[in-house]
């Protein structure tokens, strides 16, 4: 009779873990699961408000990973019948230094600001900036929109840059 050298005795098996393995596994398994929910992904934030005669929309990333490029849009819509003279968009320097400017439209007038020409009645203009995240951490700073030295709008931008 042929000898079967691969036959093995029936030994019941079930999964058992040591405490530290259980803790480690929960931690390890949770990372991809949380990633699937988008917890570590880029998160967009929109701020929309109407102040005086101007409608302002700000789109930016409230969460981004280091090395990724944040697309920052500030749209201004003149909803009045009169012209709004040149509009200045200014970022807090503390906030801006966490990023490296890639490009902007129109070109930045200073290290922290963009100037838009006069806004005619019903006219809409958008300032667009692409900034690369270079310092990880939670960064916040003010964004202000002003016209003829009058502050039209101010908000706080919060961006978490993941390492």
């Amino acid at each position: 009779m042929e000898e079967n050298i691969f036959s093995t005795p029936e030994v019941p098996s079930r999964l058992r873990f040591r405490n530290y393995q259980l803790v480690g596994m929960i931690f390890l398994f949770s990372i991809p699961l949380l990633a699937m929910t988008g917890l570590f992904s880029v998160k967009d934030k929109k701020i929309q408000t109407t102040k005086k005669n101007i409608e302002i929309k700000v789109d930016f990333n409230s969460r981004i990973r280091i090395g990724q490029t944040m697309k920052f849009n500030v749209s201004l819509n003149n909803i009045s019948d009169s012209k709004i003279p040149s509009v200045e968009i200014d970022f807090a320097e503390d906030y801006v230094v966490q990023f490296e400017k890639v490009r902007s439209s129109p070109e930045m007038a200073s290290k922290t600001g963009i100037s838009l020409a006069d806004l005619g009645p019903g006219e809409m203009k958008t300032a667009f900036i692409e900034m690369k995240a270079i310092e990880f951490g939670n960064h916040s700073g003010k964004l202000s929109v002003s016209s003829a030295d009058e502050k039209l709008f101010e908000t706080t931008l919060d961006t978490l840059i993941l390492p």
Partner: protein, 158 residues
């Protein structure tokens, strides 16, 4: 999300690719080490993390792969069929004086490979061997006759 999907795809691809390549290739490693250990990770790392080289992305990719490895090991441990499909079963290459050439052909193991293994465990002839088995991890096990007695019926084999 994207990194998790990439890691899952790469894991499935590698699992099946390595299974198809064959256990002997994995067991040998020497000649193929360059491809398996250096070149494949080099090629696949780009696919795993894409353009995002942040630590966050690397940790997500690595933890996804480790999770898949662990889940795979759970299934492997609990279910024999799963283990047989993914890891393969041992294959007999030589049985009591007879070479199982069909198995040798399928696994691409030649007589020189086997003789080499016999010498490594301190024997010199096939006739001293009762069984020679290609294990599922690619290693060759040589089981000599008890008390190292040469089977006279097999003495005509080298």
């Amino acid at each position: 999300m994207e990194t998790v999907v990439r890691a899952v795809i790469i894991f499935i691809f590698l699992t099946f690719a390595l299974r198809i390549v064959g256990k002997r290739v994995l067991g040998e490693m020497s000649g193929y080490e360059l491809i398996l250990i250096i070149l494949i990770p080099e090629i696949l790392s780009q696919g795993l993390v894409g353009e995002d080289f942040s630590i966050t992305n690397s940790i997500i990719g690595a933890s996804t792969l480790l999770t898949l490895v662990m889940v795979n090991s759970f299934f492997s441990y609990r279910f024999k069929t799963y283990r047989d499909v993914l890891e393969g079963e041992p294959v007999i290459l030589y049985n009591n004086g007879k070479f199982l050439t069909e198995n040798m052909d399928k696994e691409r193991v030649n007589v020189d490979d086997i003789l080499n293994e016999i010498r490594e465990i301190g024997f010199e002839r096939f006739s001293q061997m009762k069984w020679i088995i290609l294990e599922s991890d690619g290693k060759i096990s040589c089981i000599p006759f008890e008390n190292n007695i040469v089977n006279p019926e097999h003495s005509k084999i080298v």
